[in-house]
């Protein structure tokens, strides 16, 4: 945890932070046109006539974007507005083709809700979300590819965004980042946003102010478009410190929009004067009010997946998993889906499945630098491996080796066990023969053991394991070895 976030803020100052998160909704087409939203296309190849604001073109709303907004609202326990209104936010910028952005102003689709946020120290804070509304994204400007000119790509123009506005209730960068992570997990969990910050699917504006505890809110600044958890933390920390220093110097804070400069680790004011604009919001006359019937809301409620908090609790209460494990498994939807798929084939074996998902699977994912949905071992394949383990066909140690081979693409568990002849040796006769051979090979150690050096038991276990290429059933080995060592 960044020391400055808690310690350097002298006890007489309180930081007040609110976040506006823009989550790009993962619809196939745009909010108001039928152009594709896929990332990475050649410039302006996903810009329709409507997206280019050609004269005479009109917006038509995407029902899937509305559904995704409703799902988010339900997930945070907010009211979904039966009537909401799209409004025009008017300003001039080259990546805003119509000269206005279609957004929502006085009547957003999602009202007030709450999100429980678990901090690193285990405390849970409840962050109030004031509203969430639908709006269209702008296009992109390319500044460095053309001499003395800026290039405009409208592929992104019109992509649906859900703007999620928190109340200014967070008091440290750590709290803000924890909240941001929770929202990030939730939107991916719901399947409404892929949360890919590198691609700009999940962006954060941070509103920061400081005040003496108990005093009125101070002037806030807005740090725009921060696109990583790390940068959000650093930007907020820097801004808090900057404001405190300024105020302690007798200066006033200017209400302004700032950008975070990751190279210099500081925020600086934005050059453009867009923040000084009067947006002249008014209801968009091209779009009648959005009506959402109670039946539509209930339909979405029925489709909601079990939410992260609830599932984490269920893992603790019903599956008997430790809270920390439950938390890790519920860190994202893909992980929990994987775990549940494995568990489905090994009912009652939650602990075993959890250990493997959080152990072998996680370690391999980490090393390969990939996410669980790219894992070369599917949940069903892991389930098969664990079933063989449970059946006693292989030992725990062998299972790990088999898993490594599966991960390397050498086939499924059964195939590998067969091909390498890895079946556990549990037959007491075969084990007995292996043990006899080892004891005959090491007469000195045998004498030593019978002379009282009981530690040599592990030596013999190790040698039998080596001789059986690790396939000896440990329990059986132990039993038979002890018998033989005891002289029978």
């Amino acid at each position: 945890m960044n020391a400055s976030s808690n310690d350097s803020a002298a006890p007489t100052w309180q930081a007040v932070i609110g976040l506006e998160i823009h989550a790009q909704l993962s619809t196939a087409s745009k909010l108001f046109s039928g152009a594709a939203t896929a990332y990475g296309a050649e410039p302006n190849t996903q810009a329709s006539l409507v997206d280019c604001a050609l004269p005479g073109t009109l917006p038509v709303a995407n029902r899937e974007a509305v559904r995704k907004a409703i799902q988010f609202g339900l997930a945070i326990g907010a009211t979904v507005a039966p009537h909401s209104v799209f409004a025009r936010k008017n300003y001039f910028y080259p990546d805003l083709p119509k000269g206005y952005q279609i957004s929502q102003y006085e009547l957003p689709v999602v009202g007030r809700g709450t999100l429980a946020v678990r901090l690193d120290d285990g405390r849970v804070i409840h962050v109030e979300i004031e509203r969430a509304h639908l709006e269209e994204d702008a296009g992109k400007s390319v500044h460095d590819a053309f001499h003395a000119e800026t290039g405009i790509d409208l592929n992104r123009a019109g992509t649906p965004l859900l703007e999620i506005v928190s109340a200014p209730v967070m008091n440290s960068a750590a709290e803000a980042v924890a909240y941001m992570r929770t929202v990030h997990t939730l939107v991916r969990w719901l399947g409404i946003c892929d949360g890919n910050m590198q691609e700009g699917s999940f962006r954060c504006d941070c509103n920061v102010s400081v005040r003496r505890p108990g005093a009125a809110l101070g002037t806030r600044t807005e740090i725009k478009n921060v696109n990583s958890f790390r940068f959000v933390e650093k930007a907020i920390d820097y801004e808090i410190e900057r404001q405190i220093r300024a105020l302690e110097n007798g200066e006033t804070i200017v209400q302004e929009t700032r950008l975070y400069d990751p190279a210099r680790h500081q925020t600086r004011p934005m050059r453009s004067k867009e923040s000084a604009d009067d947006y002249r919001y008014f209801p968009d006359p091209d779009l009648p009010p959005l009506t959402i019937a109670p039946a539509d809301i209930e339909h979405e409620r029925a489709r909601l997946p079990e939410l992260p908090q609830a599932r984490r609790q269920r893992y603790v209460d019903e599956l008997g998993l430790p809270d920390a494990d439950a938390g890790q498994l519920c860190a994202d939807r893909a992980t929990t889906d994987y775990f549940e798929a494995v568990l489905a084939e090994l009912p009652g074996q939650a602990k075993l499945c959890a250990n493997w998902v959080l152990g072998e699977v996680a370690a391999n994912l980490n090393e390969a630098g990939i996410e669980i949905d790219a894992a070369p071992v599917a949940a069903s394949a892991l389930a098969q491996l664990l079933t063989r383990l449970r059946e006693g066909i292989i030992s725990g140690k062998i299972a790990k080796d088999v898993f490594a081979a599966m991960w390397a693409g050498q086939g499924d568990a059964d195939a590998i066990i067969d091909a390498r002849g890895l079946k556990q040796i549990s037959d007491t006769g075969a084990l007995g023969a292996a043990i006899d051979a080892v004891l005959a090979e090491y007469p000195a150690q045998l004498a030593d053991y019978r002379g009282g050096n009981e530690k040599l038991l592990q030596f013999f276990v190790g040698q039998v394991m080596k001789r059986t290429r690790g396939q000896a059933n440990p329990q059986q080995l132990n039993d038979v070895l002890r018998q033989k060592l005891a002289g029978s």
Binding site: A36, R63, I152, S272, R280
Partner: protein
């Protein structure tokens, strides 16, 4: 509502319309005359009424989430006064 030159400049700036200094006066008086019309609104007995934004009691129609538009970049860029390499071009913007 008397309009001064500063106000006219401000509105012209919001609307991105270049107004030459020698136009300011006539524009100001033109606008003031039209704004006078609006005094009539203040007298209307409407405080109890909801604004009428759409003539009919319509709800927003919505379309299915299907990609229906393909690549029209060539014909769209051909309409532009300045385009290059697949981009629309404008004088450099400093952030």
């Amino acid at each position: 509502m008397p309009l001064d030159h500063a106000a006219v400049r401000h509105i012209a700036r919001l609307a991105r319309l270049a107004v030459a200094d020698d136009q300011l006066d006539s524009l100001r008086s033109d606008l003031e005359r039209v704004l006078h019309l609006f005094d009539d609104l203040a007298a209307a007995n409407v405080d109890h009424l909801a604004p009428l934004a759409h003539p009919h009691d319509q709800s927003l129609g919505q379309r299915d989430d299907v990609v229906t538009e393909g690549d029209r970049s060539e014909e769209l860029l051909a309409l532009a006064p300045s385009a290059q390499g697949g981009y629309f071009l404008v004088p450099k913007v400093i952030e």
